[in-house]
Amino acid sequence: MDSLGPELATYLSIAWLLPLVGFVIEVMNGFGQWNRLSRKAALLAIACIGTGFLFSSYAFCRWGTETNWAVFAEHESHDGHASVLDNPKEVGHDHHAENKSAVPLAYSGKFYTLAKFGNLELSLDYYIDSLTLLMFCMVTFIATCIHVFAVGYMSDELTIEYVDHHAHDSHGHHVHRLGRFYRFFSFLSLFCFAMLGLVIAGNIFQVFVFWELVGICSFLLIGFYTERKSANVAANKAFIVNRVGDFGFIIGLMILWTYCGTFNFTEYKSGETMKPGLFEMVRTAEGELTYTDDTHETVALHTSNEHGHWVAPQGESTKRRTIPYMLLVVAGLGVFGGCIGKSAQFPLQTWLPDAMEGPTPVSALVHSATMVAAGVYLAARFFPVFTSEVLLAIAYTGCITLFVAATIAVVATDIKKVLAYSTISQLGYMMLAIGLGGWAAGLFHLITHAFFKSLMFLASGAVIYGCHHEQEMPKMGGLFKKMPITALTMLVGVIAIAGLAIPGTPIAFSGYHSKDAIVATALAYTQHNPVHFLLFMTPLVTAGITAFYMFRLWFYTFTGTPRDEHVYEHAHEVPKVMFVPLLVLSVLAAGCAIGGEHGQLFKMISLSEPVGLAEGVPASGVAQVTLPSHDDIHAVHSTAGVVALLAASLGTLTAFLLYCKPVVKPENIKNQFPGLHNFLVEKWYFDDLYEALFIRPSHAVARWATGFDRLILDGILHGAAKSTVIVSAIDRKFDEGFVDGIVNLVGNTTRRFGYSLRVFQTGQIRQYVMFIAVSVVALFAVLFALLPKA
């Protein structure tokens, strides 16, 4: 249906823009009419995002009806997406019809143009496929739950005098301030707008735009408690570290823009002609690169449309757009750099744990379920542009991240920090999956993770709320009796993330299926590329660690004896407005992935899978890695499932023995390895390393720059000024000394001569007479002596 694209775009746009409207109203009224005790902001925010969810769902249903739900009707597992496309009705553009098996179903179009430079055009577009729809539903749904939860969690902000126990003024008193209930919800709304904009984006530039906007929302929300220095520092760190990733992102953008001349994902209409987007330019309809020669150094870009296929023009080299292979790699790495920053991957993972300074609902929404997953989402979205080298880099980045983060999580004692590190680790899993070619597996994990991690964060928020803002697990313990609902819902999340299941039965929580898919992909990958065996071993080991630290958290918090009587005494179950979202989410966390790789969710995702992945990708480029086909993965699925489950069970058992029924005291182990423990507690010393490597040198350079201005440039200027003054001083000396000197000399001489004559002027009349007489005599004498004698 040609009209389906714009129709879907309309629904999704409404869902996307409603939170923005909400934000504007909330902010405006927050400063004005609404008083600090009003819940209106929350109601409006929930209304906006809830309506957004309804519109997203409706769009989803419309899309389903138009496709006759073919995706679910088809039971032929991994070939699902091809068969859907047999139905000519769901074809977005004409040429798709002639190339059914190759191009995934997607609708794209333009909202409006930002700027046009000759043939270059920056615009806001939309790109809608099954992944977009899924993400929309997921984001709006989780956001709605979290909004509702936050009404309870943030209720202590409904006051005109909020006492912040974590912030002190210079006299050591707690800071008193107005409650900021409305502000919290306005920021949340703004975040939802930005996040949805990122998902609907139809070009990489637009992704970047919203990428930055979610970044700033994250900044605002992390720094929500502006009085706390730690919160401000964490907010700055989050944004600046993200900007480091964005630096790479921009480099990627520049390369693509320069060589491809467009940012659009897929073909778009420019004037009257259709032009290819990045995906069509880089990949053939079969998902392969086209080289101009045998050396594989230059990739030809497809710009000419022949019979519905985009191909590279033959003949004259001037008409043929090409991009050096290396630059395509750099572009991919650059864009992936952005993903590293946003998804807190190694080596930019350090900001996410600090980001837990924000209120817990924020951690649940922004820093686990949605924004940080945006990096994974982009990596998946941009998959066709990534070459095999980039994919390998992605895989290793994910692999390192998931291990590093998991090890730190083992020793963390702050309940939110454990979850933060587990988020990083799980994001590593997703990245790994995408890098291994397990595109659908990675996104599968993204969706399931969003549910169970937001669930766990909310549950931890409930614990924190119930314990009056105590976050340290060593002060908890035995809370099960006090807050059973929270404990149980949390347990659902823990089981889900640990990937536990009962073998041989379909009883398994969502995390089992998705992690299983990833491990299976890794195993198949390692079979094809034995060199990269670490890419299988690490996630497998980490699966065990994951189970360990998650159960450690649960046992530590909810079982055993209370370790801090004061906290325990005052702990209480949370109100309804908070535990209802927990229950809803726990249902989804448990069940959203029912059926595993034969389930609806996985099929939905697979529908958007890039072309050519299903058959596997043979080795190419420098990396020389082979991506496994779906059949390969399927073949090792049961093996992978068993080993993953084994690892998870081992981890669970260890946690049980250490923290629930202590056979060995954890402290003893800690004392056994003080070096290792310290190393992990200090987060592998990344923060210190960056402080020494980047932050301090930056400040040094900054000081140099100012010093250069002050000393050298201003020095030159002042030197010039001073030398001018000196020259004029010399000039003055010359004038006063030499020119005036001559004049004065004449005068002085005359005067001195006059003075010398003074002695004769005695005033003595007799002397005068004497002079006259003597002179006359002398005159005569002279006359007589000189005159000739007659």
Partner: protein, 103 residues
């Protein structure tokens, strides 16, 4: 009576003149100085008269001498007036006391 020679007359005139000059330079009394002036004038007069013998009319010298005498009289009057004033200012007529024109 034997005519007195010109030389003798000139000698007398010269002696008078020199005496006058010496009187002017040595006398500190204003009156003495005035007397010296008179002596100088009379020495000059004597020369006029002595030389007048050689003029065609033989009277020029006498005329000049009479002029000088008249002038001397006037001068004496002025000089005495000055002396009086000088005395008023300095309570003495010692010319050395009047050195206001000292440079």
């Amino acid at each position: 009576m034997e005519a007195v020679s010109l030389n003798s007359l000139l000698w007398v005139g010269a002696v008078l003149f020199v005496c006058g000059v010496i009187c002017m330079t040595t006398k500190r009394n204003a009156i003495g100085v005035l007397i010296g002036v008179e002596l100088v004038l009379n020495g000059a007069n004597l020369n006029f008269v002595a030389f007048s013998r050689y003029s065609p009319l033989a009277l020029d010298g006498q005329v000049a001498a009479i002029f000088v005498i008249v002038l001397a009289a006037a001068e004496a009057a002025v000089a005495l007036a000055i002396a009086m004033n000088f005395y008023n200012c300095h309570l003495s007529i010692d010319v050395d006391r009047g050195d206001e024109l000292h440079g």
